[in-house]
Amino acid sequence: MKILIPIKRVNDYNVKVRPNQANTDVDLSNVKMAVNPFCEIALEEAIRLKEGGKATEIIAVSVGDEKNQEQLRTALALGADRAILVKTDKALQPLDVSKVLVKVYEKESPNLVIMGKVGIDGDHNQTGQMFSALTNLPQITFASKVELNGNDVEVTREIDGGLETLSSSLPAVITTDLRLNEPRYASLPNIMKAKRKPLEELTVEELGVEVKPTVTTLKVESPPEREEGVKVENVDVLVEKLKNEAKVI
């Protein structure tokens, strides 16, 4: 039972990212980078499955430049057994990334692919669904509970109306929502051990994926700021303002 976990390198979620001076992109210089929180949740779920004796091997895969090694080492320190970095210097779109992941999937034939539902940088929420489409694997998005029973998986999903449970045979693709689990921190001994775990490097070209930048960013701006309002002294004033000034009640 092999699990593949795609890992995305993104800004630390506590950092407020701003546009660069030329308004051509975001300014990530001096911004702390991290594993995308939803990918961490995916990895944590795989580690728990392995600890529960239901999985035997966890492979972390990242697509991007050399710096992605940092996030893969983090994944190895957390509990992945080995890692694959598919290198490219280009900025890939979700469709390109999913095509690269298809090649890695074909190479590794995992029984389960768990990935974050969204990267907190581009806010696309696409790669898992595209990957599932291109591999013709059952797609289960936005998971808040995963139960593995032999060759079947039952997953509870968070949807707009509440919760929904789907089941599927393996192999399958699951994307994670926030409440699936709370990821652990890597311990110092495990961080040391991770340095000796295997990290294979491939390139996008070697895998034969043609990258097409079909959607380009023209401009990045700060959103319009809301004007700070007033503090009201008490509930009476609040009700009066809502009735007579804002006229919303």
């Binding site: 990212v17 975001v26 595209m130 789907l166 959607v215 990045v220 700070e228």
Partner: protein, 311 residues
């Protein structure tokens, strides 16, 4: 002629308000707008769809497999009617997010998610980094898949239309897919969160799920929906479908009342387009006050009962 296909979102009983906003966005791209409706019972939806003034044709796939949403089933139908269309639109609801990227992947189209503004036929604005920045993106593709953040668009006219309903057979396919087991949907007499005129939301400051009920009296008096911050949902004070914010729902009501919510950027991302924002929090330094039109620094356990009695 630019042709646009909009995915009708519904619960097999009524059309989602989100679809009305998606059609409004579609109107900015062209005037040949068709709908695709996969449903277990089209007769429940026919009258409502017929009120949509700008819809020309409705592709209907009716079968009991559409009682519950399985992305694979919907996408197979989208593919079956995709030939003539230049744009494919759905809302950025959990349905739209589940279905559209799958379709885009099979069509080899790079989707543009969470569109908040149509600049022109190939240029769109969308939030990135939890709404900390707005990107203007341009597509070189001749055919495009968009999901629409519906709080950024008005609703289309429902003054009456003349849409032609075209029934299709289910496409034959060998798609691997999951099966439906069950759902636990929140049943509420209140307005739906994303379309409510007024939303009253509670955060970590509510302290527990019993206290969360303090919001109910106020919500009832205002005919408001109840929302929650991620912290409140994570702590089990409120169900997941109450969550407003980056990973929950985006809302833009006339009045948003944030109670005991500190105002993390991920929460602000989901509500800062509200017309009027009220914040009630005992911490006067809470970031929520930066976006609030009216801020009340107070202990919510005193302020909420008083507010309820004075409404």
């Amino acid at each position: 002629m630019t042709k646009i296909l909009v995915l009708a979102e519904h619960d097999n009983n009524s059309l989602s308000g989100a679809t009305l906003s998606v059609i409004k966005a579609a109107e900015m791209l062209g005037d040949e707008i068709d709908l695709i409706c996969t449903t277990s019972n089209i007769s429940n939806l026919e009258a409502e769809i017929s009120t949509l003034s700008s819809v020309k044709k409705v592709h209907v796939f009716e079968d009991k497999i559409f009682e519950n949403e399985i992305a694979e089933n919907t996408v197979d139908c989208l593919i079956a009617v995709s030939d003539d269309y230049d744009y494919f639109l759905a809302s950025s609801s959990t349905s739209g997010k589940n279905i559209m990227p799958r379709f885009a992947g099979l069509m080899d189209i790079q989707q543009i998610s969470e569109v908040i503004e149509v600049v022109d036929g190939s240029t769109f604005k969308k939030p990135i980094y939890a709404g900390a920045c707005i990107a203007t993106v341009k597509t070189e593709q001749s055919r495009n898949v968009l999901t629409i953040r519906t709080t950024s668009f008005d609703k289309t006219s429902t003054d009456g239309g003349s849409a032609e309903f075209v029934k299709h057979d289910l496409p034959a396919n060998n798609t691997n897919k999951p099966t439906f087991v069950k759902n636990e949907l929140t049943v509420s007499d209140r307005p739906e969160l994303t379309s409510a005129d007024i939303v009253v939301s509670g955060g970590r400051g509510m302290q527990n799920s019993d206290n969360f009920k303090l919001l109910e009296g106020i919500a009832t008096k205002l005919n408001a929906a109840i929302g929650a911050s991620r912290a409140a949902v994570d702590s089990g004070f409120a169900p997941n479908d109450y969550q407003v914010g980056q990973t929950g729902k985006s809302v833009a009501p006339n009045l948003y009342v944030a109670v005991g919510i500190s105002g993390a950027i991920q929460h602000l991302a989901g509500m800062k387009d509200s017309k009027t924002i009220v914040a009630i929090n005992k911490d006067e330094e809470a970031p929520i006050f930066k976006v609030a039109d009216y801020g009340l620094v107070a202990d919510l356990f005193e302020a909420l009962p008083e507010l309820e009695s004075k409404l």
